[in-house]
Each structure stands twice: as structure tokens, then as C-alpha cells.
Amino acid sequence: MDIQSISQDIIKKAVSGDIQAFEEIYRSASSFVYNIALRTARNREDAQEITQEVFLKVFKSLKDFRFQSSFKTWLYRITVNTTLNMLKKTAHDRRRQFAYHENICNELPLPTAGIETSLEQREQKAQVDKMLEALNPEYRTCIVLREMQGLRYDEIAQALKININTVRSRLKRAREILLKRGGYNELP
């Protein structure tokens, strides 16, 4: 089951308050939402909270969904907005917390690591985390939608409500940052 398999019929049932239909939507789409949140927020607890908030929002505003646009991009948009808002909020909270504990701790806590199956996987995840960390949330969101969710430029533009050329320039900037980070020196 994936996000493409969600039918109009199911959406209409969910709009009328059918929880089972809504659960079907959740089962098909929660992995996408959760992974965008996880990659952007880089913390499981935040990702769970974002996923919860997204689906509560979806439940509330499903009746406003227009069938002309794709459900996927509509959902991406809600997810990305919720994630960015959460990042702003936690950054603010952390700064306050930090100011308060200034004398006690010198460094912000790193995101907690989960149980990974192999060392290789763990190393790979750590590498991805570091790469994403090098990007600001706007670039990061574009990269996550492109690389991890495989969205086309026009889909990213729709999801973020930005111009397709902005998608292009953000991906370019993000990748240039990653190149520099990787130690690539441009040849003449």
C-alpha cells in the first residue's frame, strides 16, 4: 500500500467521518510523512509528533481537499509546513533552554540514535545525517523531497508552493554545499 493507492472513494468516506477509511489513508501515507519529518527534523520524537500533527490536520481539512490537485502533493505541503514550523519552534525552545543552562552544558544535545541493524547501516545513516545537517531547512526540504521521495521538479514546486526555477536553484545550491563539504575543488 502506498500513497498512490488512495482512492477518491476512500477520501470521501474519510471526509464523512469514517475512521476506518481514515486509517486506510494513514496506513498508505504515514511512512512518507514520517520519513520526510524524520529526515528534516533528524529526531524520532519530533518526527512522531510531526506525523501526528499532520494527520490531525489532514483529518480536519480533508473536506477542503480539491480533487484536481494530487493528494500526494497536498499531503507533502502540509508535512513540510508542519515540519518547518516545528523546527522554528524547537530552535526557539532550545535557545531558551540553552540560555537557561548556559553554565551547565556547553553543547546542544545531539539527536538520539535508534536501534540500527548493522554497523554499515549505522554509519551510512550518520553520514546522511551529517550531509543534511550542512543544509538549511529550505535546502534540506528540497533535497529530501527529491532524493528520498523521488519527486520531480514540478511536484516539489507544487509541494513547496515555489517556482520551478527556485526548486532548481535550491537543489543546485544544496549540492554545491555538499560538494564543498566533500572536499571537491572545481577544476578550471
Binding site: 514520517y34 520519513n35 512522531q48 530552535a91 543534511l132 538549511n136
Partner: protein
């Protein structure tokens, strides 16, 4: 087209498969001829694209649906609900009265107070859409201000 222009396309549309066939062939042709651009394309793939693509997706924990579901179900009607309704109405009335007073005192209040209110509103309205028309550098700056570096 010079190498610089080619690389702008390589790092975006070419790598992402967004090019029309003819355009793609043009780039392929240049890559065969130009070792520097070939090295660039390889670097982009290995440092900025492939490692991110290989990430395995995670499933959200099973308890999450239960948590969400418990927030979806409408409150059961019963004795408690009536008291709750009264309490809600009462607190809304109090809140309205309070807001009214606050607004009036805000209007009459000092300039500093008004500034505080305005800056709070600005912060609130600073949502994603506001960044759309900004150049990237500016967006970066705003974000750095918000996130704090």
C-alpha cells in the same frame, strides 16, 4: 555553451533526469569530450546525490496510529460534557473580555508596548510563503536568524 553552463545543467536537470532527450544527448556528448565536466558529474553523484538516495525508509512506530486515533474520536456525550460546555463558554467569555481590555490598553499604552505586539505578529506571520520571492541568500539569512546559525 561553455563548461560553466554545462555544469549548471549537470548538477540539476541532467542528474535528476529532467531533460528532454535531445538536450540530454547534448550533455552526454559534452561529457564524452570533456574530462573536467566528467569529473564534476562524478563528484556530484558520489558526494551530493547517491549517498542520500540509498537511505532506507523507516516505518513509523505502531503506537502512533493509536495515539492519533484517540485524538480523532469525538468526545462522548454525557453528563461531563455539559459541564465542559459551560466551562468552555465561560472561559471564552472571560478571554474575550480580557482581550478587549488588553486591546484598549494596548492602543492607549506606550509605544514600546505596541512595538512588542507588532513584532509578535510579524513573527507569527513569517511562514513559508513569505520566503518565496526572496533570493536564496536572503532566505538563508532569515533562517539563520530564526534557527540561530
Amino acid at each position: 555553451m561553455n563548461c560553466h553552463k554545462f555544469r549548471d545543467i549537470i548538477i540539476t536537470d541532467y542528474i535528476d533526469g529532467e531533460l528532454a532527450e535531445q538536450r540530454k544527448q547534448e550533455i552526454d556528448h559534452h561529457l564524452r569530450e570533456c574530462p573536467a565536466c566528467r569529473a564534476f558529474a562524478a563528484a556530484v553523484r558520489s558526494m551530493a546525490v547517491d549517498p542520500l538516495k540509498e537511505t532506507t525508509l523507516e516505518e513509523p512506530p505502531a503506537f502512533l496510529w493509536t495515539r492519533i486515533q484517540s485524538r480523532l474520536e469525538p468526545a462522548h456525550s454525557g453528563r461531563g460534557t455539559r459541564w465542559l460546555n459551560i466551562a468552555v463558554t465561560l472561559s471564552m467569555f472571560l478571554a474575550m473580555t480580557f482581550t478587549g481590555n488588553y486591546l484598549v490598553s494596548g492602543m492607549l499604552g506606550s509605544a514600546t508596548q505596541q512595538e512588542t505586539i507588532i513584532s509578535a505578529e510579524v513573527t507569527q506571520q513569517l511562514s513559508l510563503s513569505e520566503f518565496n520571492d526572496m533570493p536564496n541568500e536572503q532566505v538563508e539569512e532569515v533562517y539563520n536568524n530564526i534557527i540561530g546559525g
